[in-house]
Amino acid sequence: MSESRPVRAAANAALVLALVLVPLFFEPFRVTQFTQILVVAIAVAGLNLLTGFTGQVSVGHSAFFGIGAYVTGVLIVHAGVPMTAAIIAGTLSGGIAGALFGIPSLRIKGTHLAIVTLVLAASLPAVLSTFSEITGGTEGLRVPRITPPRGSFLAADQTRYYVVLGALLLVVLGVFMLDRSRTGRALRALGDNEIAAVTYGVRPMRLRIGVFAASSTITALAGALFAVTSGFISSTTSYMTIVGSIVFLTALVIGGRALLAGPLAGAAIAELLPAQISRYSPEWANFAYGAILIALLLLAPGGISSLRFRRRRSHPAPHVLPAPLQQEETPHDTDDTRDQAQPTTRIG
């Protein structure tokens, strides 16, 4: 965070410009691959909203991604709903599912929330194969893809790229504005120290449900866009399974705090590296995700601290919790960083 504000703004403008120019210089196969990276970046931005602001980890975002993708796909294929309306419906469905999970997340935190979201992630493929008549199960569902508007000079792959890029920029702008708002401050305070935050008027309930819903809405939007840009979804598509959650988490850890560059860089590395590896064998890609994630978390504490995977307080939080006779010893020494020596008084 050493660079100044204008420098950062210029860097972001250059990044956006580069993103806009990319499809003009690459062959369709590459543009399609980049589109997929942008889709993942949106999903990661969604997860970052939850983890970055509240310090909660969700292992279930693959399910919100899947809900977005399947509601969109099924509405288009089986109900003939126009694509734009289907994307909106898919996005909102993921948001509603997220709000429903936001309610338990008021009380379920940390490891317990991870259990719930893990089981949620494990449930989606099971549900998809149970309703395989509609969803296609493991056989999958072919979804019509976004096509260029009539008379456009853009090719199909370029059109899809720009739609997803537009969505990503809108999402990042929204998160940026939230970050600078009063609500953003309240969210950070809540993530840091709930009791102190409440003492200063922060209302955890609304904020937690809201942020969970917003986070899953964004990730569901990524899923919806995935359906209409890739054109094929199935219950074994890795983003719909727990592997998807791992990809999002890995990208989040790689990317760190920067709002636009973070998800992009994370998504690019998380997508491209295993793709290289999986040319030899697809199982190696999954292994690589897990191994990269573990290695990053163990070896690069600096990159993680920027993610707000903060170190556990080395001296305990204020013991304002009901513990008149605490079982665990809590030193009530506090810190100070003074160094001036003072003469010792000696008596006797």
């Binding site: 170190r311 080395s314 001296h315 008149p324 006779l325 605490q326 079982q327 665990e328 010893e329 809590t330 030193p331 009530h332 020494d333 506090t334 810190d335 100070d336 960083t337 003074r338 160094d339 020596a341 003072q342 010792t344 008084t345 000696r346 008596i347 006797g348």
Partner: protein
């Protein structure tokens, strides 16, 4: 005063992560001596004890009975005979009183029969622990838990017993009983004691010497009686 102290702390610095808490503390405890450590909340008393017993990042020099323990593990320090009774007593609430006592001898190699004999000696000193042997320690009263914590520490065969606020949360009569016990242990067995305590008069009453800690540095040290009688000093550093 004997020439070789039992505990010799020299220029000790300690920190919790980024926060430095102790800035070059030196103190000694001689064999058979009772030393009390006074100071306001947040002065670093607990950190000092935790640094001595190996629970905090520390630099400087700590020698115990001639052995350098600056880098020793907590378990190694306990087995040398430097045993702590932590603040809030640190009993194992879910385990029985009997099991708590057995854990006291964890670092020692001792047969089951010998351990049973030692436990019965402890129970003789603290009869209430015998009555409650099969109960969960969490169900004991504060005073009983303090007795259990001391009893458990004795089973580690301490040469120096370090106590952190033994009076915390106890009624005045119970506090008095705890200090009577400590005095007995000192008188009968010649046990050395290092005590952190809020209750200045009571602890100064059993101590040979005292140190006053403020903001991570020793401000005052001297004979307990002198500190007890110096009203100006008490007002300045002990708040009363």
């Amino acid at each position: 005063m004997p020439l070789v102290p039992l505990l010799d702390v020299d220029n000790l610095h300690a920190r919790y992560g980024q926060a430095r808490v102790l800035h070059g503390v030196s103190l000694t405890v001689s064999p058979g001596e009772v030393v009390v450590l006074l100071g306001a909340n947040g002065a670093g008393k607990t950190t000092l004890l935790r640094a001595i017993t190996g629970h905090v990042e520390r630099t400087g020099s700590i020698k115990f009975a001639g052995t350098d323990i600056t880098r020793a593990s907590p378990a190694a320090i306990v087995s040398l005979g430097l045993v702590q009774v932590p603040e809030g007593r640190g009993t194992f609430a879910d385990l029985t009183v009997q099991e708590n006592l057995r854990l006291g001898a964890y670092t020692r190699r001792v047969t089951a029969a010998a351990l049973a004999l030692e436990i019965s000696e402890i129970v003789e000193r603290f009869p209430i622990l015998g009555e409650r042997a099969g109960q969960r320690a969490g169900l004991l009263s504060g005073g009983e838990q303090q007795m259990l914590a001391i009893g458990r520490a004795l089973l580690a065969r301490p040469r120096l017993l370090v106590l952190d606020e033994p009076s915390l949360g106890l009624a005045p009569t119970v506090t008095r009983a705890v200090f009577d016990t400590l005095r007995e242990l000192h008188d009968e067995q010649g046990l050395s004691l290092l005590v952190v305590e809020q209750n200045a008069d009571l602890s100064l009453g059993i101590a040979d010497r005292a140190y006053v800690l403020e903001a991570g540095e020793i401000q005052v040290d001297g004979p307990a009686a002198a500190i007890r009688d110096d009203a100006g000093l008490r007002r300045a550093y002990l708040g009363y």
